[in-house]
C-alpha cells in the first residue's frame, strides 16, 4: 500500500507543478504554449572509451586534461542477483553503471525515480547471435537470449537491481535517441513533477551488422533530472526545440565520438557543465529539429 500512496503523491505533485508553471491556464484559454521544459540536473553518469566516469571525465571535457581513447572495460553490476548478473551483456552493464553513477552523485533513492532508457540499438551481440541461429536449420534459441533481445532489457534489469516500481520507458530514435530521451525525461519532470533518470547508451554490433551500422564503441550517459533544486543540483537546464546546427566538441577525438555514437550526442551538455559556465548548447535530435539547452549553474 505504501507504494500506491507514493504513486498518488507523484500524481499530485505533477498537478501542483503544472499549476505553478501556468500550463493549465494556457491550455484552457487555447493559447499555443511554445513549450520550454526544465529540470535540475542533480547527478551525471558517464562511461565511454577513455571516459571512465563523470568525475574522471570532467577535467577532460573542461579542456584541462587531454583526452586519450582506450578500450572500455565494464564490470557486471554487483547490484543484480548472481543469476541475473551472469545473463547481462555489455549493453545492460553500461546502462546500469551510468545509472548508478548518477544516482550516487545526486545521493538519490533509485526507488523514487522514474526512468527513461534510450538507445539506438539494444544488446547488439545478442541480436547477432539470434539472427545467426535463426538462419540455420535448427532454430532452437535459448530463452535467455530471447528475453535479452527486447529493447527494454536494460530497464528490466534496472528494475530488478534497484527495486524501483516507478514508471520506466524505453525509447529509440536512431541517431536522435539521446535527444528523444532528454525530451521525454524533461517532459516527465515538467508535466508530472517526477524525478526522472535519463539513461542513454549504445554498443557496437559485431559483423556482419557492423558493416551496416558502424558504431565504434560502447558509450553511456545518465542524467538525474529533478523538479526541485537540491543541495546536489549542478545546474538548472531548460530545453526548447530549434533548428540551428548542433554544437561540436573542440577536441577532434571527442567530436568523432559524438558524431559516431548516438548516446554521445549528449556530450556538449556535459561539456557545458564541466566548464562551469552558464551557456546555451544545441544538441542533435531529428532533422530538422535540434534541442537548445540553456544551462544555468547552481552555485
Amino acid at each position: 500500500m505504501k507504494l500506491l500512496i507514493r504513486n498518488e503523491l507523484a500524481v499530485n505533485v505533477g498537478r501542483a507543478s503544472a499549476r505553478q508553471i501556468g500550463l493549465k491556464a494556457d491550455l484552457q484559454s487555447g493559447i499555443k504554449y511554445t513549450g520550454s521544459i526544465t529540470a535540475y540536473l542533480d547527478g551525471i553518469g558517464l562511461l565511454g572509451p577513455g571516459l571512465d566516469n563523470w568525475l574522471a571525465a570532467r577535467p577532460i571535457l573542461a579542456g584541462a586534461a587531454a583526452y586519450e581513447s582506450r578500450p572500455l572495460v565494464v564490470a557486471a553490476p554487483q547490484s543484480l542477483p548472481p543469476a541475473e548478473r551472469r545473463r547481462t551483456g555489455l549493453v545492460v552493464r553500461i546502462a546500469l553503471a551510468v545509472a548508478q553513477q548518477a544516482i550516487a552523485a545526486g545521493q538519490l533513492d533509485a526507488k523514487q525515480l522514474a526512468t527513461v532508457f534510450s538507445s539506438s540499438g539494444a544488446d547488439n551481440d545478442n541480436c547477432d547471435a539470434l539472427c545467426k541461429v535463426l538462419a540455420t536449420e535448427d532454430r532452437h534459441i535459448s530463452p535467455t537470449r530471447f528475453h535479452n533481445s527486447v529493447h527494454n532489457a536494460p530497464a528490466g534489469y534496472w528494475g530488478i537491481a534497484s527495486g524501483a516500481m516507478t514508471p520506466a520507458t524505453v525509447l529509440c530514435a536512431h541517431d536522435g535517441s539521446f535527444g528523444a530521451g532528454l525530451l521525454e525525461a524533461l517532459t516527465q519532470v515538467t508535466v508530472e513533477g517526477w524525478g526522472t533518470l535519463l539513461i542513454a547508451y549504445d554498443m557496437p554490433y559485431p559483423e556482419p551488422l557492423h558493416a551496416k551500422r558502424p558504431l565504434p564503441a560502447a558509450f553511456g550517459i545518465a542524467l538525474a533530472l529533478m523538479p526541485e533544486r537540491s543541495a546536489h543540483s549542478l545546474a538548472r537546464i531548460e530545453l526548447s526545440l530549434v533548428d540551428t546546427a548542433p554544437d561540436a566538441l573542440a577536441d577532434p577525438a571527442l567530436e568523432a565520438l559524438r558524431l559516431a555514437i548516438p548516446a554521445a550526442r549528449g556530450l556538449p551538455l556535459l561539456q557545458a557543465v564541466a566548464r562551469e559556465e552558464a551557456c546555451r548548447v544545441v544538441l542533435d535530435y531529428l532533422e530538422p529539429l535540434r534541442l537548445a539547452v540553456a544551462v544555468e549553474l547552481c552555485p
Binding site: 498518488e8 500524481v11 530463452p143 530471447f146 529493447h151 527494454n152 529509440c172 536522435g176 551488422l209
Partner: protein, 420 residues
Amino acid sequence: MTPLQLTHFTASSCLGHGLDATLAALRAHKTGLAPCTFETVTDLVTHIGEVAAVDQMSLPAALASFDCRNNRLAWLGLQQDGFSDAVEAAIARHGCRRVGVLLGTSTSGILQTEQAYRRRDPGCLDSSGGALPGDFHYRTTHNTYSVADFVRSHFKLEGPAVVVSTACSSSAKVFASAARMIAAGLIDAAIVGGVDSLCLTTLYGFNSLELLSPEPCRPFDAARKGISIGEAAAFILLERPAGNLDADAVLLLGTGESSDAHHMSSPHPEGLGARMAMAAALKAAGLCAADIDYINLHGTATPSNDAAEGRAVATLFGDAVPCSSTKGATGHTLGAAGGLEAIISALALQQGFMPGGVNTRQLDPGIPIHYLTANQDIALKDSDPLGAKTPVESYAPRRVLSNAFGFGGTNCSLILGRAQ
C-alpha cells in the same frame, strides 16, 4: 490529466483491415487465429493472428528503402478508415512541426534482418559468416525507430518523433508520452499507436520460453496453455478536445505507468505492478474503481500472466466490473497490443458493447473477476430477459480501462471515456 480526444483511429489485425472488419468480427464473437504456416515456420505447433495481404503492399517509391514486413503493415494500416486524410487535415490545422509521431513496436523490421542473414554472401565468408546483402537497409528496416521514421517521412512531418519499445506495453505507453508532450506545449497533436509484425525471433523466442499455446489461446480459461502471437497496425490521432464534442467522441482520461521490478519474463506474482498502473490511471483521470464499466484485460493466456492480472484486478475492482481479453480474437500483437486494444475499447464506447472473450470455455475458478465470455451489446438489451432491469452501462460502457503489461515488467493502463 487534461483529457485528450482520439479524433481519428484505425486498426488492422487478423480480424481484418480497418474498423468495419474489426467491429464485425468482434460483434460476431469470431477469432482471426489460424494454424501457423508463416514464412518458413513449419516446425511450430501453434496458432497465429496473421494480417491478410501484408506482402501485397508496396510502399511509395520515395520510401522504398523502408520496405519490410513491419512498414508494409504500417502502410496497410494508414490506408484504412481515411486515417491518412485525417492526419493531413491535422497537419493543415497545426503545422508540420506541431504534430508528433509516437509509435510502439517490439521487433520493428527484424524479419528483414533474419532473412538477410540467410542471404549472407558466401563469396566473402569471414568469421561472421559473410556480409549482408547490399539491398539490406539497417536504418529504415531493422532499427527500432524505423516505423516512426517511416510515418514521419510519409507525412513530411518535422516535429518530435520516437518509438517506445517496452515489449507488450509499448503502444499503450505512447499515449502517456504524447499526452505529456501536448501538456508541455511541445506539440498540438500526435499520431500514436503501434505496429508489430510476425517474425522468427518472437515465434521461436516464445517457443523457447514454452509460452506458445498449441491451440488458439484461451485467456482466463482454467486450461489455458499460453499465447497465440498476432500482428497489427493501430493508429490514433490524439488532440486537445474540439469545442463541441459529439456525444460518442472518445477521450483519453488517464494513463498510469509502473514497473514490476521482479523478473525479466515473469510478472510479479501478486500483480503489484499491474495494480499500481491501474491505480495511477484512475488517479490521473480523477476516477474511482466504481466509475469503470469495462476492463479490456492484457490477458495473454499464459498461466502466470492471467493469474497475476486477475489478482490485481480483483484487488482494485472486486468482481463487479465486466472484463475480458480480446487476445482470443486477435492473438497477442505484442508491441501493437496497447494501441489495438485502446481502439477496441474506443469501439466498445462508441458502439455500445463489451466484447466477450473468445475461445474461453471454462473460466479459471481461481481468478475471482467478472470475466465476460459472451458479448454484452446495447443492440441486444431489448431481447435480453433481464434487459429491462439492467442499467444501460451494463451493455454500453461509458468508461473503459485497458491494460498492457510488458515483458521485462513495464506496465501501462489507459482509461478512455465517452464525451457524454
